[in-house]
Amino acid sequence: MDFKESTFIYILALGIVVFVAGQSMFFLLKAWKQGKKLGITSGTMRNTITQSAIFTIAPAISIVATVITLAYSLGIVLPWLRMLVIGNITYEATAAEAALNAMGGNLSQPVEDKSVFAAAAWVMTIGSAFPLILVPILLKKIQKKIGQAVQMNQKWADVMSAAAFIGLISAFISRAVAGAGDEAVIGDGAGVLSLSALLVSIGLMLILQTVCNKFKVKWLEPFAMPLSMLGAMGAAMLLAQILPESIAFLEWRG
């Protein structure tokens, strides 16, 4: 049996699956109980669960794709396991490649040496573990400061809260408009497809929001965002098929 996919490695991975699911269930139940105390309706909380689960499908599939990409070299279990705890699509591939390069290998060939495999596991783990030290130390202090600022001036705090929200989203909007992709990959940088996906998604969301508000279609509300996102992804797929290749895959930043 391939050492990268031995029973032992599968047991390790299952242990991590149980840990992550257990932690999520713990916080979900505590938040649900607190929500009840605050008077948030069960319907609203159930909607949040449904919407979040639907929202997760497409990004999670792209995470599975990353796991499978890394699997050629590292086997299926280690990338799967890494994606479950502090996993990050861009980080894991970079860290694995850095570790393999340091040991004289790369991601385009299967790892046959146990020592190289273990080195990749160490680099991928230590490189990503820092937030688990930072968050417990810094979070309470940061949130205390935010809480004090909110109490001092509610209107100012509302504006700043909207600004922080918009600031976060703007990073991704900017990348769709002006960010470069991987030079070896066609269609991942800012270009016709990214801009089209962005505009279709904004357009669909505004239409669905109007429908929800104007015709009071309550049930549609939690689906508006996932539907807009999937619609925009479908539009990108369609444009790639019907437009000439030179236009559809045009990327102005490479």
Partner: protein
């Protein structure tokens, strides 16, 4: 009696330390079980090329995400990962739909429920995906596949939907961070999303503060 917020910090710290131990035990147990100990020089060389960027990014992420995700959401997100591409948009859209604001008790509850549900769904989908779709998924997501353009545009599609309502409602505040993001990318087109978020969030907060003081918003 401890407040809910204090309790969340206590639980979060315990879970984070446990996650750190669980995480580090994986490579350690691999080494013990296989009886191999890779050379320290190889590990350090690999770490030297990832730590400067990712540890700096982690600091920026912790600072930028904490006003939005709430305490429970932060502790959960930083254990389960995939924040920028999944947990963050999920929590933001949940707050938008539930009509609650960040930094409120209701916002804290909704972000925690959203991120916990998303984490469970991700765990199930990745696990099922790994077990079931291993043979076919590379064909779906391969560069030449009909579906590839859809998967490449997940992020613009996600954030367009989340931002739509906000950009219309707060168009004045939106101009500064979008301009700052685009301008930064004009000079550093390959800048990773972590540092870029730091730039857009800081410029957005500064811009909004000035607009508030000058009564533009």
């Amino acid at each position: 009696m401890k407040s809910y917020s204090d309790k969340v910090h206590t639980w979060g710290r315990i879970w984070s330390v446990s996650a750190l131990c669980a995480l580090l035990s994986v490579p350690l147990l691999i080494c013990v079980h296989m009886d191999v100990w890779p050379p320290m020089s190889g590990i350090l060389k690999g770490l030297a090329s990832v730590i400067p960027l990712y540890w700096t990014t982690s600091i920026a992420e912790v600072i930028s995400y904490s006003p939005m995700l709430g305490a429970g959401g932060m502790y959960l997100s930083f254990v389960t990962g995939n924040i920028a591409n999944l947990k963050l948009p999920c929590a933001l859209s949940a707050m938008e739909t539930a009509k609650v604001r960040p930094n409120t008790e209701e916002g804290e509850v909704i972000t925690t429920i959203s991120i916990a549900s998303s984490s469970i769904a991700t765990t199930l989908i990745i696990t099922a995906g790994v077990l079931i779709f291993t043979p076919i998924l590379p064909k779906i997501t391969a560069p030449g596949s009909v579906f590839a353009p859809a998967f490449q545009q997940i992020l613009p599609a996600l954030f367009g939907a989340i931002g739509a309502g906000y950009f219309i409602k707060h168009w004045k505040i939106s101009i500064v961070p979008i301009a700052a993001g685009i301008l930064t990318l004009c000079f550093l087109p390959s800048l990773a999303v972590g540092p870029l978020i730091f730039v857009t969030v800081v410029s957005s907060l500064l811009g909004a503060h000035i607009m508030f003081k000058t009564k533009i918003v």
